[in-house]
């Protein structure tokens, strides 16, 4: 692998111990995946932020490099934390957890990272351009940036994304290269897709079949960015899909050849089965939407739906601080709170310790959340579209 003089100097400790360690990881990854060189990245998304996810080992790792003076070189955004960083107490996050979560955030802040705390950086101020090389972790954001925007990133692990942020570049392999962005399977969809949950169920089903392959969808007649966000997130959770193409919807689709590809057909029956698999519970004691983090359009839609209603069960809409501020300015936060709901910023139901907050069954409309909640949060899941969720809440 070719390294510039400067990069060799970084690898040999010329820029200090922290940079040397990060370089060693990047060079090793480059060697494994046969990268010819390093390429500069326009931005980074760092995952592994919730204290619940990374625990003490992760915290020690981050504090160590932060104390040794690590600084990021490019625009770097942060994944959701394990709690709302401002209103954690009133929402009911445990104090002991908050103490540790703040330490994690302090370490990232010292490195010069934007305290965005969202899995949708592209909605909150970190928007790459078509074909821009980036190094993002957060599997749903990787999928969105590769597929919907047409930027280029591998599925970075939290630490490899951080290494790219500190060094400013990433090894040139995988999805950074044209030849690796071609589809491996043709997914013919013949089903009515109306709600985000329909796209989530589709993604959950296809992700299990695709694994790490690149699917090419036909038959999705219309989808907005919220729908595509839901689709990609579910595929990245049930599988390892980092890139998909959708005919007429995503920017690289028209440049791809689909002749001779393995064909997967998905109809109403498969969708119904996916719904059935995702449903493991009956009566939710908490309803959470916003996985991935809700867009302003999603918040507006939900606010309209619950305006004037009286929700009996806790109802959370998870989103970024940026979206919450916009919603508050529009009076939506007040509308939602009046109906008995909450906009919870900086976190989500998967990375927050909801199992320690007394919840057993969670209602969601996200294929990604439905995939993770049983294992990671010990929750039974009720998976429904947003209208049915509001009814059950």
């Amino acid at each position: 692998m070719y390294l510039t003089k400067e990069q060799e100097n970084m690898l040999n400790g010329g820029h200090g111990e922290v940079v040397e360690r990060q370089m060693r990881l990047l060079v090793r990854l480059g060697e494994i995946y046969k990268a010819d060189k390093m390429i500069d990245v326009g931005s980074v998304q760092v995952a592994g932020v919730s204290y619940k996810s990374i625990g003490d080992p992760g915290l020690e790792f981050l504090e160590d490099i932060a104390h040794k003076g690590a600084k990021v070189k490019v625009l770097t955004f942060l994944n959701p934390a394990g709690m709302d960083m401002e209103n954690w107490r009133e929402i009911g996050f445990p104090e002991s957890f908050a103490t540790m979560q703040k330490k994690v955030m302090d370490a990232f802040e010292q490195m010069g990272i934007v305290m965005s705390a969202t899995c949708t950086p592209y909605l909150a101020g970190n928007l790459p351009r078509f074909r821009e090389h980036i190094a993002w972790s957060e599997s749903s954001a990787v999928s969105f940036s590769n597929s919907v925007i047409g930027a280029r990133t591998n599925r970075e692990g939290g630490p490899s994304a951080l290494a790219a942020a500190i060094c400013g570049f990433t090894p040139n392999y995988g999805l950074h290269l044209d030849e690796n962005r071609k589809p491996h399977m043709l997914v013919k969809v013949d089903a009515k897709l109306e709600y985000n949950s329909d796209f989530g169920a589709l993604g959950y089903h296809v992700g299990k079949i695709a694994g790490s392959k690149i699917p090419y969808f036909t038959g999705i007649k219309n989808a907005n960015t919220d729908n595509l966000k839901a689709l990609g997130a579910a595929m990245a959770a049930s599988g390892a899909v980092a890139l998909y193409h959708a005919e007429g919807l995503t920017p690289e689709a028209s440049t791809m050849e689909t002749k001779g590809l393995e064909i997967i057909e998905v109809g109403e029956k498969e969708l119904k089965e996916a719904y059935a698999k995702l449903n493991t519970g009956k009566d939710p004691d908490l309803v959470v939407v916003g996985c991935p983090h809700a867009s302003l359009r999603e918040i507006i839609t939900i606010a309209k739906k619950i305006d004037g209603k009286h929700l009996k069960k806790p109802f959370w809409i998870c989103t970024s601080r940026v979206m919450k501020d916009a919603a508050t300015r529009m009076g939506l936060t007040a509308t939602i709170e009046k109906a008995g709901g909450k906009i919870v910023a900086d976190t989500c139901m998967v990375v927050s310790p909801i199992e320690e907050m007394g919840f057993k069954t969670t209602g969601v409309d996200s294929g990604k959340a439905g995939n993770y909640l049983p294992g990671f949060c010990k929750q039974s899941v009720v998976f429904k579209n947003i209208d049915d969720l509001i009814k059950s809440g």
Partner: protein
């Protein structure tokens, strides 16, 4: 049982010998394995309830969250990591995790030939796997 030496690619160097625990389906670490105990927690996964501690963990490839690297690192720090990992194809998230955690790891191995309970010898520096 074959005595052949299977040759793959070194992902993270080191040597290990131990009992194999084999998954035929992809494995996600985040939400898949509890970093405190080493027990597989993904509902419905073929290894659900099994412990990977001190085993030679064999699976085709990783899946799911990009936080998986930290879970692998956490397993090691908590003393419940597998002795080695063998994959058909190691993707970046698992690679980052094993490099950081210093867990021997080899990929490009025909894992169809490996079964749970097999005693395996892994030389991840050379990229070889054989039955002990």
């Amino acid at each position: 049982m074959t005595k052949e030496v299977m040759k793959g690619r070194s992902i993270s160097p080191g040597k290990a010998e131990g009992e194999a625990i084999v998954s035929k389906t992809p494995l996600g670490f985040y939400g898949g394995i509890d970093a405190k105990t080493g027990i597989v927690i993904e509902k419905g996964h073929e290894l659900e309830g099994k412990n990977v501690k001190d085993k030679i963990l064999v699976f085709p490839t990783g899946k799911g969250s990009t936080v998986g690297s930290y879970v692998i690192y956490g397993l090691k720090k908590n003393g419940v990591a597998p002795k080695a990992i063998i994959n058909k194809e190691t993707e970046t998230i698992v690679a980052t995790g094993v490099i950081l955690a210093d867990i021997p790891c080899v990929d490009q191995i025909d894992i169809e030939k490996l079964n749970t309970g097999d005693r395996l010898k892994v030389d991840a520096t050379k990229g070889t796997v054989e039955h002990a």
